[in-house]
Amino acid sequence: MSPVIPLLLVLGLATVGWLVARARARIFRRARPGGRLDSRPQYHAWFVALCAGLPAGLFALAWSAFSPGLVVMRVLQAPAAAALPAEGILRDAILAEAGALATRHATGAFHPLARTLVPAFEQAIAHYAQVGLAVTLLLGFATGTWAFLRLRPDFRARTQVERMIMAALLLASLAAILTTFGIFASLLAETWRFFRFVPPGDFLFGNHWSPDPMADVGPVATDSYGALPLFWGTFAIGVVIAMLVAIPLGLMSAIHLTQYASPALRRWVKPMLEMLAGVPTVVYGYFAALTVAPAVRRLGEALGLANPSSESALAAGLVMGIMIIPFVSSMADDAIAAVPAEMRDGSLALGATRFETIHRVLIPAALPGIVAGIMLAISRAIGETMIVVMAAGATARLTANPFESMTTVTFQIVAMLTGEGSFDHPATLSAFALGMVLFLVTLALNFVALRVVLRFRQAYD
């Protein structure tokens, strides 16, 4: 149900409250001998408008989110609903069609039953729309009147309004904690359900991964939920191959740009590196699948491999490394820039060449920052999804050959959740367990890295 009309009415109500309250405050001001109120009339106006608008507006939003459920419940009690099949996918489909017909979102229906339900739907929707509108308006009117009656010449309207603003600020800053908590709670709940099917030991240390989302839920083959090959694939692609590309290129680019490059070169190269960071991952994935993977396959053939697969860990890792370059380079840039200029100047003054200064002074001094940057880069690489989904392959195997396809944690999360499997199936739940592992590992990496960066900054401040 669209909340637009109730919200517009609430807005109108708040505007009326605003105007009336301001008029009232002006009358107060004229009646007063000194002509001064405790707060300016605008604050009286805002106080009444917020009191009238906020609760009613929130109610209208909540009503539009939850009234469809009420509508369906009421339709199910109608006589026409007696002919519906028992609870299941078919019934849901018929109800959805009837709802679409009743709201004019569709013109035809596959199920003849859907047409018979339309009057019941229309009646229920109209009923709940009226109820919602009435409650919204009553609520807004009640809170608005209450606020209006509180207005006095010495009423501290500004303090009240500012208190509301402060509450909004506090609520907004709590959103971050709530999100973190929400991630943790939802992952934990589903992981817990998964571990009732598959013991944690088998999941973390088993070396055979082949869940079947279509199999019966019954007794689960726990030996097909061993995630070790996924962890290995993630490590090989995200940590080994990607970092072999990203660390040398990123680090050397940063050093050259900060220590050697002319301002003109820097002005050209920096935006290009930023562009590299701004390319969406799905574009990298498409690039990996379309261009890099066939090239890697040809390379494998040229090296005399029997039949290199068209999806390889090497292709995904290479492209991922390219994606990470700007990340490593900007972190290294910051770390090197944080080293005090005196250290650099001292070394140069002693007669060291610039290479020796960089090699013996700058890099050792900036090392904590660089390592922290690399840790952040690793955490980004192992959480990267689209490149591996499009280029790395689905076969879980423990192999050291980069020309073979490997699969990663993120790939399997996508594979398990985009199928048609039910939400109670261990294969679906395993995605959340994998997500939990990924979340904890990246959290640990980020936490340590941020700590190191902080300590490092303090050391030179």
Binding site: H105, M166, L276, Y286, I322, E356
Partner: protein, 420 residues
Amino acid sequence: MTERASTDAGAADGDRAARRLKARYAAERRFRALGLAAIACSVAALLFLLVTMIGNGMSGFRRTELRVPVDFARAGLRVEPARLGAIDALPALRQAGLSQVLGQAAAASLGPDGAAELDPDAWREVARAIIADPGLLQRRVVLSLPASDNLAAAQRGDGQRRLRPLATRLAAQGKLVRAWDPGFLTRADSTHAQSVGIWGALKGSLLTMAVTMALAFPIGVLAAVYLEEYAPRNRWTDLIEVSISNLAAVPSIIFGLLGLALFVGLFPSWRSAPLIGGMTLALMTMPVIVISARAAIGAVPPSARDAALAIGASRIQVVFHHVLPLAMPGIMTGTIIGMARALGETAPLLMIGMRAFVATPPAGLTAPASVLPVQIFLWSDEIDRGFVERTSATIIVLLLFLLAMNGLAIHLRNRFEKRL
């Protein structure tokens, strides 16, 4: 004797020193060249990627069309004008026999084998044109209709061998052409590469971004104001700061899992709707906005605050009347960068089910929709060569949007740096 030995030794020393100096300078040059090579590699990778996409994608803005003359006045298509204005005009035209009319016209002009290679969805385009201009039904027009993917492949010289003579014949008659396809930007997804369009996905992206912006911007800015201006230093504030900096680095797919478990769990009927997608992306974008907004607010000189406080403004007035307007360009820069990241994000939207085949542009925030990056992902699975071009063309459109957003962000940043 000793003197001579020492000069010898000195000469030898000098020699060794000169050699060592040479080696040291050589190392210096090598290192410098290595750095330049690293930069060249990175830039080359970027250029190679862009050139590949542009090379593949420019032909994606064209399509293979059949030119078919149709005389609607004589075809006897009976549709009441009133029905053309109704929302079921498309089915009405289909019932009136639009596709048969097109089939007959194609058979008359291209021959039966040519008519068989008309895209089965071609009537939809004609129907939309008729709805836009009902006067078409009284005229004789030459329509440009999408050819089938097989015929398009044959015209390129690959695909099925049996169609190649037909393609050559029609092309020689000027009835089969490869033409610019402005409709690519106004149609929605389809199963045939010649009749797909990206407006559906683009509209889905715009709706999703609107939701993300409406949620993440106010919450992010308000949170930044609180943390930077009012928050007391205590354990709670530390916890908020730690969770914000961690959220900014959590993999995006984890936000998808949260969106699936929380939002899709709460509102199952809005699965794959822009509303849910926007809410999920808002959780991801909010920390980015908080971090950049805090930096921008922190860069406002304290003198501005002190001056406002000194003439009697309250602490709220100081922030909302003085600090925020000064910090706004910086906040907008961070917001645009965060939104650009959200616009290119795919994985979390796959998680919440935005991967369905959606053949009509979404009607509203709660209708099933696709977004540009997911459309790229879905088309990348198609084997047909036509889809490769279309995918690359979509990537070009997406990159242009991102380029525009980033350009705007850089422009704002430059103005901001000049002013403070």
